[in-house]
Subunit: 227 residues, 2 copies
DNA sequence: ACAAATTTTTAGATTTGTCTAAAAATAATA
DNA sequence: TATTATTTTTAGACAAATCTAAAAATTTGT
């Protein structure tokens, strides 16, 4: 219900977005150092920015206690994520980019300021629910449609699922998936799970494929109940 | 043939673009004040920036003599204009914006850095030659396809032409054109030209329409020879 | 050509976001 | 608990882009 638009710099927006993502991991408050690492900057710069965001009531901050997003800060962060993911979807679906090429461009596009633009883009794309990496695209009100998904590494022999997302969306990992023909939507059955190193033998595309635990830890499947 | 990419700030890019546009009017060099007015800033700020651009060999500058773009500066300016106009075309043709709503958004989008993005956008749009205001979109090599066009005010009674562009693309003027059903592509015949104030009576859409000299000075027609 | 008006440049200050180095607070360990 | 190690904050500096006020150069008008 906040009609008043707050002037946000590119830097402030990126901080809010990083805090949002880190809150998933550090529920009791995001530490200065964690944020510094995520933002690839120095802790002192983070402290400066946190003070500024706190001044604007976008985060709750007490010295030495880490930060959490305020309600307002959270809703701004969600809108930036919405823009990021809509642009990623556009780049892949309309401009024919590969899923490993879109992140850096979306990092720029997410800061374009125009509500009308994002509303019209959303309509043009026919209101997509997930970005090219399987991440949910929040709607205009900031609601995430969350799909049931589990990390592949946690599945057991005989389990089956559909690939619905990736945890690591680095170009290197996405290219690895491409080389192994692993795509969103593919049906995967776990044939074997090696106790020694956690590697897995999968059946996909009617072929067998072995992947490491590291890889399995970065792929999300939607479980299929086999009756 | 310049493979080396120069790091350009948003501000530098906007200066180059403004100099490019002003060079049309001030062929012997763009004055500090003209640039200050165009950029809506102070002359002293302009001097500072000109020195910086000159340092980078993007403009030729001698104190008190005004600036001209260097070859490199010109080609960067053209690429920014290309981006601006391609995005405007996208916004109107794909996202369904009206032609009076796109300029400010394109002002932001033109600074997104990715050659691949603009190449793919161009392809997606099927290599458009003109933006929604009739201005030419330079190709990847920076070549403008220039269409024959003349200011409506310079036409005479009996002359005929097709509306191909606007000189003023302010929202106010574009909305005036909308209200009077004047669109690109429309065929226009000059029925009368009032000597007293330069106003014109036009035939368009099989109806008569009177427009002021001010308006006629901001509309481009491609002349049709009547044999 | 000379004084007046205008344009342009310089000098110095400000804001934003960053940095390094040092101090202060907190956490870990013996 | 006392000492050490780590984290976080402060203090001070810097680069980019802007500003105001004043000085210098150029142009205009008589
Ligand atoms: Mn991304
Ligand atoms: Mn993504
Ligand atoms: Mn425009
Ligand atoms: Mn235009």
């Amino acid at each position: 219900m906040c009609i008043i638009k707050i002037e946000m710099t590119l830097s402030e927006e990126n901080y809010l977005k990083s805090i949002f993502h880190l809150e998933k991991k550090y529920a009791r408050g995001v530490s200065t150092n964690a944020l510094a690492e995520e933002m690839e900057t120095k802790a002192s710069s983070v402290t400066d920015m946190i003070k500024k965001l706190s001044e604007k009531n976008l985060v709750n901050y007490k010295k030495y206690q880490g930060v959490k997003l305020s309600e307002k800060g959270n809703s701004i962060a969600v809108q930036i994520i919405r823009k990021h993911r809509l642009w990623e979807y556009f780049l892949v679906e309309k401009l024919d980019f590969n899923w490993d090429e879109v992140h850096d461009i979306a990092e720029q596009l997410e800061h374009i300021k125009s509500d009308e633009l994002i509303a019209k883009l959303d309509k043009f794309l026919d209101y997509p629910k997930r970005d090219p990496h399987g991440d949910p695209i929040p709607d205009a009100e900031g609601n995430f449609a969350n799909l049931e998904k589990k990390i592949l590494a946690e599945f057991n022999e005989g389990d089956q699922g559909i690939c619905v997302g990736v945890k690591d969306s680095s170009a290197a990992f996405l290219q690895y998936l491409d080389r192994n023909k692993i795509k969103l939507g593919k049906s995967i059955t776990i044939l074997e799970k090696e106790q020694f190193d956690g590697s897995m033998i999968l059946k996909m595309n009617n072929k067998e494929l072995t992947i490491s635990k590291v890889a399995a830890n970065n792929i999300y499947l939607k479980p299929i109940s086999l009756e």
